[in-house]
Amino acid sequence: MKGTQLGEFEEIVLLTIALCYDEAYSVAVMEELSQRLERPMSLGAVHRAMQRLEEKGLVQSRLGEATAERGGRRKRLFTVTMAGEQSLREARRIRNELWEGIPKTAFGI
């Protein structure tokens, strides 16, 4: 079984999925991300990350409605699972602890 360790990019994608809530599909996530990170993003990178997340069981997907703007094709919509939520919280906890642990002088002068 592959480790359920959350990669840095995966974490961001997972957060974005949570952010978009009911409208999280690859194009939306990609656009959201490239806006926030201020760098262009390829669909491929996002797509792969979302697949990995799904394999790890952190998100689940369903097919949405077919729309004309997609040439009559359906989109795959993602939602964060319980496990996903948990690992996001875990990641946040670790970060918070780390922040709190930094001695004041570290960023001093």
Partner: protein
Amino acid sequence: MNRKNKINSQPPRWAERLLGRIAAPHHREEILGDLYELFHKRGQRYGYTKARLLYVLEMVLLLHPRLWRNTSRSTHLDSKFIFDSQSNPTAMFNNHLKVAFRKISRHKSYTLINAVSLSLGIACAILIFTLVKYHLSFDDFHADQNRIYRIYTEFHGEKVTYNTGVPNPLGEAFRGGYNAAEEVGRIAFLPKRVVSVSPEKKFEEDIAFADPEFLSIFNFPLIQGNPKTALQDRNTVLITDEIAKKYFGTQDPVGQLLRVDDSLLVRITGVLQDLPPNTDFRSQIYIPFSNLQDHSPWMVEKDWWFSVNKEMQCFVRLKPGISAASVNKTILPAISNTYYDKEPAQYFQFRLQPLSDVHFNPELRGKTDKKNLRTFAWIGFFLILTACVNFINLATAQAIGRSREIGVRKALGSRRAPLFWQFITETAVIAGLAMVVALGLAYLALPFVNGWFEIDLTLNLLTDRYLLAFLSVLLLLVVFFSGAYPGLILARFQPLLALKGMPAQRSAGGFSLRKGLVVGQFAISQLLIIGTLIITTQLRYSQQADMGFQKDAIVILPVPDNQKSKLSALGAEFSELSGVENATFFDTPPASEAVGSTSIRFDSRPEAEDFSIAIKSADHQYVPTFKIPILAGRNLNPSDTIREYLLNETAVKALRLASLDDVLGKPATINGRPGTIVGVMKDFHFQSFRAAIEPLCLTTRSESYGSCGINVNLANLGPTLAGLEKVWTTLYPSSIFTYRFMDEEIGRFYKLDNMLLRLIQAFTGIAIFVGCLGLYGLVSFMAAQKTKEIGVRKVLGASNPSILWLFGKEFIRLLLIAFALAAPLAWWVMEGWLNKFVYRVEPGAGIFILAIVITLFVALLTVGFRSLKASRANPIKALRSE
């Protein structure tokens, strides 16, 4: 306009289609949708041209194993159980492989027959490939090898003859007067000279005298010494590393002295890298050409344009852009016209021979004939073919037994393609095994092949790209050739009939084809057998037929130098030995590969004759030693210079004289030297049987004597040889005593043919064996099928022989058909070969009858062995099941 816009505002069709093909089904829709959506968004934002570009870029970035990986999220667990043969080739292949191994281990004898015949076939193919590749690679390592040529001589007499050599001054003429060549280098090759380091340490070596240009025309790099100055100073020498090690061990060879033939003392100034195996320039010792004058003055008469020695060769590297054709057309004829009078200019013509042709041209003493290589390639092909035929035969025969399996598979929903691939996989596994075994066999056989051909082939699978490519192609061809047809047959079975176990022989389509293939196989074997028999007969005839002189019991010794006093002393002492009848000195024995020819002017006729005459120098003992009959006049009188000539009958005929006596006492100028014709010899074969007997003359000329022929008594050969050696070593203490027999000398004419024969014999044996293996397998299946028939017949009182006949008659019929095909083909092919001989055997009916008897015998032995077993079996066992 509108329409164009519409097309433009769509994503590229090809990219969509490509993606649809690559993507795993469960990704296809969403990805295409995503890209479509992005495309339109971008199109509106940046314009459609850019959007199209981004679409393709986006697609490229999407390419990742995840895109085509099959494990879908929803069917994560189920996918292991659902067998989707189309979208998962690896799993299917694994299954095929598993089934193939099971089949193979179940049908051991079937696999064994196939694997053995394939291994033998492939092993031969590997050896033949290596051999052919080796020969084709000769001298291909020289830089600019396409611009290197040898100048050779064409004698335009009554018919055209060829000589690899050129007159000595030609090189200088070509270099000086014409601006076509970058480099011109003369080389004189002298085989088997004695080279000594000290009186105790002496060796027989092939040496060469070469112009300094030799090193720049050819790519023979120096390890030590300066290539710019090498071969320039007199009395220096270059040797190869191999020779250096042999002579001096670990000592530094440079600066050491070598003595060549007692006549030349040279200092080593450089060491050449060892020669690669694929070169015809085998001399390992190179002395500056300027030294040739001291060693063999007879080879280099400065302005003598009239003698051509095959060892005295001239190589050129043309300037880029200058074609050989233009040199052949302008410069070389110009040389003839400048340096010869009108008539000899017609006779002596020079041409360029490309370096790549040097190894192959039989007319110019090429070591190999491309025709032989082609023969080998064909034999290799035939052997593979025979092995594949076995495969097909056995597989189709077996198909009947496999019908139930096919039926079950089909009933369970298997389609044709997987069944076909299933069979191909089985074939591939067997062929792969066979190839591994074949490689092993080839490695084992290589030393023998090297021994036969006196060459140094190596098989190196890891570094030899060509070999790897050849093996891969061969494997693919074998697999598809032998697997495709049976695979198609099997895949085509009707499931219902197949389940009932009755895909009747006719519906299997295999039987008639099988017969055809057996005929083909027999035909190939018979072709090879007839070929072998004819070659054997011709070679035996060539080597045993009367050549017109005595060739048994004659020992030939080389004479290191021809000082008159030493020769007469040697002759006198030899004659006193008890086992010696006669001793004679000469330049070449009666039959020899080296025959020089020259012009003749007879009597008072104003012009030279329009034919050329071969000339041999020998003393007065030559005729009695070789027992050459004199038809008119008398033998030569003892002399050291040219005074008298003996002609052969053909020469007299060529002079258009009515009677042999007409030439007696008449003067003649041969090779520019006058003399009197004193006698006529009976014609004898002074060349191989490939050449017709031509005009020949014999004369005395002691400075060209290089060998001694001794007519010995075979009864006590040992003591005689010992006596000869003793006399020899007292007179020539610094030389090595070597001797050979005249009949060995003649055998050398046919060396290449003998090698060819031995190889063909080996291959024929293998072809027959492979064919028999196939037959054995086929009969086994027939017997298995006919178990019940045999049982019934036996119960009804049939005898064993009658049951044997049941199997035999079919095969005899096939064999006869095969013979009807093979015999004319073999006759046609062998006529081509025999036509190269002027004196040849006529393949009689006996050979063909022998061939058919051999195949009949072998085939019936095979069939009989298996069918005897079938006929002996207890009928009760066969019939019990019903």
